[in-house]
Structures are given as C-alpha cells and as structure tokens.
C-alpha cells in the first residue's frame, strides 16, 4: 500500500470529493435554467447540424454555378445568388463546417497549453515564473489578430496552422488566469499535506490542485471558444482563410464586401450575419457558465 500512495484512503477526503460532485451537479442545474444558455445552445445546435449535414439541408450544392447571377433574395434563393450564380443560402449552410472545425480545436488546444503553462508558473514559481510572466506580458501587448495574420502569412493558411496560431496566442492569456488561481491554492493545507505525504510535484499539480481550479478553467474554455470564433472569422476575412471556392463565412465576406456599394448587399450581409449569430450564441453560453461559476 505504501508504494501506491494515491490509493490511500484518507478519511477526510471522501466527503470532499462527493461534495465537489454535488456542487458540480448543482451548477449544471443552475446553468440549464438560464434562458440565455438555452437560446445560445439552440442557435449553436442549428449551426452544428448545418456543419454535419450541409448537403442534406442546403437546397443547392454550395459550388453549383447553374442558377442565375446576382439575383436578389427570393423564394427560390432566400439569401440571393452571388456573382457566379451560386446560392448564398446553401453556401452559408455549408460554410458552418470550416469555422466549427477550426475554432473549437483552437480554443481547446489553447486552454490545454495555457493550463499546463499556468500550473507550472503558479506552482513552481521562481525564475521560471518570472521569465514566463514577462513573456506572457509582452504577448498580451500584441494585437492577437495582427500576430495571427503575420504567422499565418509566414506558415501558410492550412487549417492546422490557423488552429496552432490561435491556440498559441490564447496560451498566455489562459496561463495568466490559471497561474492566479494556482497561486491561491498552493498555500492551502491540502497541498502541504500532500507534500508531507511525499507526493511528486506532478501528482500535486495535476491530481490535487487541478480539480480545485477547474471552475476558472471551464469558464476560460467557454470564453476562449467565443474569442476563437471571433479570431478565426477575422483572420479568414483578412485573407488567412481557406482559398476562394470554399464557402467559409469569413472568406465569403472578404470575397464580396467590395460589391456592397454596387448594391449586391446580400452576398456579404448573410455570411456576416451567420458569423454574428454564431459568436453571439457562443458568448451567451459562455456568459451563463461564467455567471453561475463565479456566483458559486
């Protein structure tokens, strides 16, 4: 038993763990009761379904050229058609896939790296913390969109590069939040007792402290997801998105915005509206999670 310290049952720990589970269940119940959460989830769900089955839902193929050019919105083409006669409604539906693949991946990776870095900074402290803090600070002084654009121009605009760049830009932001949470935890008695039990640093960081800072991490994940949608859409508008025939929303706005003044507003308006509805829904979810978690 002594060579397997994690299996030692300390009497005082049992209620602690179940209490945490109960608190989590209670939080989840409170979150589900917020109207903003439900509305956000409903909108998000619509886009997820569009992303999963675009060809089944869309009335036309997103790359189909056969219909008339530049038609204004009508019963046949609720969002009109573009300069090559493609159905904008179908393209908006198909475009959900790109952003819903890239943004969540970037948010999850960014939070993952941020948690690891923040835990190390907050728990190990010392020189590592001082140097890392300085680097984090100067990263925060850089406009995320601009650095993202620079990096994507350098390394090419494949989906993986965009994911990696956005994740890398989110890492310092997440790390700062996690570091602050860990600093508050590391002085508590349970950490001292784990040290006295002779637990390894890794064990203390990830099995003892991590479960206790999950609250801020979950909040950070939902908030980052909102920012990831924002950043990925902006990057693809600025030219870092997938190349032209793709129905990606940011690229659609970028391809069509200069024709707004010629009166073809629908070619830009609807993909732009799709971006707006997605970011708003994700932020409604994030905001509900945040208010419940911070109140508890």
């Amino acid at each position: 038993m002594t060579d397997h310290p994690s299996s030692i049952v300390v009497p005082g720990q049992m209620p602690d763990v179940s209490e945490r589970k109960q608190a989590r269940r209670e939080n989840w119940r409170l979150i589900r009761r917020r109207p903003a959460f439900l509305i956000g989830m409903a909108i998000l769900l619509v886009w997820v379904v569009c992303a999963l089955f675009p060809l089944t839902i869309a009335p036309h193929h997103p790359l189909d050229f056969r219909t008339g050019l530049n038609q204004s919105p009508s019963w046949d083409h609720p969002f009109g058609t573009d300069q090559t006669g493609r159905d904008v409604f179908s393209r908006v539906i198909a475009g959900a896939r790109d952003i819903l693949r890239i943004a969540p991946a970037a948010a999850v990776l960014g939070v993952l790296f941020g948690v690891i870095l923040g835990m190390l900074m907050g728990y190990i402290r010392g020189w590592f913390d001082i140097i890392a803090s300085r680097i984090v600070e100067s990263f925060l002084a850089l406009p995320v969109v601009l650095v993202g654009l620079l990096a994507v121009t350098t390394m090419g605009n494949s989906a993986w590069v965009v994911i990696g760049v956005v994740a890398a830009l989110f890492t310092p932001i997440v790390a700062r939040t996690v570091r602050a949470a860990v600093l508050a935890e590391r002085e508590l008695d349970y950490v001292t007792s784990a040290k006295l039990r002779g637990e390894s640093t890794m064990f203390i960081m990830f099995r003892e402290i991590l479960p206790n800072v999950m609250g801020p991490i979950v909040v950070e994940l939902t908030v980052r997801l909102g920012y990831a949608v924002f950043t990925v859409a902006t990057l693809s508008f600025l030219g870092a998105g997938p190349p032209p025939p793709s129905p990606d929303w940011g690229s659609q706005v970028s391809d069509n915005y200069s024709s707004i003044v010629s009166g073809f507003w629908w070619r830009t308006f609807f993909p732009a509206g799709a971006i707006a509805s997605l970011v708003i829904s994700v932020n409604m979810i994030a905001d509900s999670v945040q208010s419940v978690m911070e109140a508890s």
């Binding site: 903003a36 300085r134 680097i135 600070e137 100067s138 990263f139 002084a141 850089l142 406009p143 995320v144 969109v145 601009l146 650095v147 654009l149 620079l150 990096a151 121009t153 350098t154 909102g226 924002f230 859409a233 902006t234 508008f237 600025l238 030219g239 706005v253 915005y257 707004i260 003044v261 009166g263 507003w265 830009t268 308006f269 732009a272 509206g273 971006i275 707006a276 970011v279 708003i280 994700v282 932020n283 409604m284 905001d287």
Partner: protein, 306 residues
C-alpha cells in the same frame, strides 16, 4: 517596461524574419536580373546573417528608426506616423461616440439591476462586444451607405476636406468600432457601480443626508469608474486589432491597412515599425490608466507611495 519592449521587438523579429522568400526578388519582380536582386538585398541588409539582422532590428526598436520601406523606399517612421494620424482620428471619433453612451448605459443598468432595462442593456452589450468589427462594418455599410444612402462607403476624405466633411466620411467606420467597445465599457461600468452601490461608504453617505445626486457623483462613480478606466485603456491596444478589419471594409488608408499591405508585400521594416508602435501605444495607455486610477483613488495613491 524596457524589458517588455525588448521582448516585443524580439517576437516581432522572430515572426517577420521567418517570412519566407528572397526580399529583393519579391520587390523587384520575377524578371529582374540576379545581380540586381543581390545588390538590392545587400543594400537593405537582408543578405546578412540572422543574428546581425536581429541586433539591427533591436537597435531600431529602441531608437525608433525603422529604416526605409522595402517597397516604396519611403522612411518607415513617416509612413507609420502618417497612417497612425488617420487611424487615430478614426479611433478618437469611435471613443467620443462610445464612451459617454456606454458609461451612461452601464450606470442605468446598474440602477435598474435585474429589471428589464438592465437585461436589455446587458444583452445588447454582450452581443455588441462579441461580433467581429468587420462584420458590424459590412452590415452597417449594407444598411446605411447602400440602402439608405447615408454616410460614405469609402472612408478616405479628399485632401482638402473640412472637419465636417471628414466627419461624414468617418462616421460609419467609427460607429462600427464604437459598437464593438460599447459592450465592454458598459459591462465594466455596470459591475463597478453595482459594487459601489452596495458598499458601506455609500450607505454612510446616504444616511448622513446627501442628495441622491451627490451620493452618485462623489461616492459611487468615483469608486466605480476605476475598472472602467482599465478596460478603456486595454481597449486602446485591442483597437488596433479591430481597426484592421474596419479599415479594410471601408478602404481607409490607416495603420490597419498599412499593416495588412505590409504583411502581403513582406515589407518587414514597415511591419516592424507599425507593430512596435501599436505595442508602445498599448504600454503607454496601460501606464496612463494606472496613473489616472491612482489619481481618482487616494487609497491606491497613498498605498503606493508608502
């Protein structure tokens, strides 16, 4: 602050020095003779070892002399400052539009906490701050400039335009940016006012018979505005991220367009100059915010000098 500046310069160097390709070839075009390309690279120093280029770039960051643009051979400092002037005008108008409205909205929301007015303001703020600026800009352009014929679709005013005419050109892009900041500022103001309204000193002020107005102005707002000021100062840094999209939609020749063009053309000195400038503006605005907060709140001021 100097350390942050140095790190900033290093990050910018690392990002731009890995931009692939032969700069001379890029600038002179695919048909220029090889000797010409080599002479060009030698002249601008892109044939030197990376470490040497790095020291040059750091020296430039600290002396604020970024050399000449690879593309136009103009002095980078002049280009960047020119563009900053135009972007600054746009940003200033956006702040003038957004700050009073969002602070008042935040105060109203706080005083009507959890009532319908509050919910409307909070949710409008959440929506406004979460939508990317280029989306707001293109929607505004569709509705106002095209459908209603208000405002101008291209933001660059003619050179001889008077202040009123310039305003007509700038009002739509500035509104797009103002909408993006409304949410953050209103939300922080609301949170600050709610905290201050529940504080003991507010109760004391009410109990000793001050008028509602006096309590609000002298006790609540003075304390509540500190987080708001911090948020505004942080927004100044983010402003230059959002401004790129807005300037692109409205074809405005500001700092955002300059950076976007420089990224496309691999114009390293221009990029370096512009990004360093944005970083410095951000650092200075954060510092100014700290000073302003200390001025407003003697507890921080006296605590700091102790």
């Amino acid at each position: 602050m100097l350390v942050t500046l140095w790190l900033l310069a290093t990050i910018v160097f690392l990002l731009v020095s890995v931009l692939p390709g032969n700069v001379g070839r890029k600038v002179l075009g695919p048909f220029a003779p090889e000797a010409e390309v080599q002479r060009y690279n030698q002249a601008i120093g892109t044939d030197r070892p990376l470490l040497q280029q790095y020291f040059t770039s750091i020296r430039r960051a600290f002396t604020l002399d970024f050399g000449k643009s690879y593309g136009t051979r103009e002095d980078v400092r002049d280009m960047v400052l020119d563009a900053l002037g135009r972007s600054g005008k746009l940003a200033l108008l956006a702040f003038v539009l957004t700050i009073p409205i969002s602070i008042v909205a935040g105060i109203i929301a706080a005083r009507r906490q959890d009532k319908i007015t509050d919910r409307v303001i909070v949710n409008a703020g959440l929506a406004s701050s979460s939508i990317p600026e280029f989306v707001t800009a293109s929607v505004l352009l569709s509705i106002f400039a095209v459908q209603l014929g208000w405002g101008k679709a291209f933001a660059n005013p003619p050179d001889n335009a008077g202040p009123i005419e310039q305003l007509q050109y700038l009002v739509l892009p500035a509104t797009a940016m103002a909408i993006a900041y409304f949410g953050y500022i209103a939300r922080m103001t609301r949170a600050g006012v709610i905290t201050a309204l529940h504080a003991d000193y507010t109760r004391t002020a009410t109990m000793k018979g001050l008028s509602k107005r006096q309590v609000m102005v002298r006790h609540v707002l003075r304390n509540a505005l500190a987080p708001t000021i911090t948020v505004i100062s942080v927004q100044i840094g983010y402003l230059f991220g959002g401004i790129i999209g807005v300037e692109k939609v409205f074809n405005y020749a500001g700092l955002g367009s300059l950076m976007l063009g420089a990224v496309g053309a691999h114009d390293v000195p221009v990029l370096q100059g512009a990004v360093m400038l944005v970083g410095m503006i951000y650092m200075v605005s954060t510092l100014l915010a700290d000073l302003l907060i200390a001025y407003l709140n003697p507890r921080i001021r006296l605590g700091a000098t102790k």
